[in-house]
Symmetry: C2
Subunit: 96 residues, 2 copies
């Protein structure tokens, strides 16, 4: 199992219409084949500048790659993510 | 629920005695009251320089604070973490 995690912050303010539109646009990611246990979190540590987190599990590297290359993911990245995200960090975890 | 996550890398090489000793010294953290779902992960994304992750859940901010201030945690930080950890990032997540 691979836990794919991305922490990020937006150009939009918390509670703004832009923030709402971003998360509405992200909703279809959940239904891409292979995605399990999709969670949206708020990032609340004062020790970093990120504000949100998406986390999801993939059974295999192949399903992870298929997600990354899926047209729904690609459209989201190109049309929404690159425009709205001010900073991010991807973290991929595998259990020991 | 607060998911407390820390990604980090060590001064020790993978597979080294120093790495083994670090994780042996970290084992008692699991038994500090309030810690739930403790996981140790390897961090495998090529997009950052971290190598490991500890993740754990706390029911409340109070149990999280009690963990942070617990003598077992404090001794680990002072005697092991500060000596062995080359870089780290704390990420605290709450579900929306």
């Amino acid at each position: 199992m691979i836990r794919h995690t991305v922490v990020f912050r937006l150009h939009h303010a918390a509670g703004s219409e832009g923030e709402k539109a971003f998360f509405a646009a992200a909703a279809p990611l959940v239904d891409i084949p292979g995605v399990k246990n999709f969670h949206k979190f708020r990032e609340v540590s004062p020790k970093n500048d990120f504000a949100y987190c998406f986390a999801m599990d993939f059974d295999t590297q192949e399903t992870y790659d298929a997600y990354s290359n899926h047209p729904v993911h690609d459209a989201f990245v190109q049309q929404i993510w690159l425009r709205d995200v001010a900073d991010f960090l991807e973290i991929d975890l595998v259990e020991d």
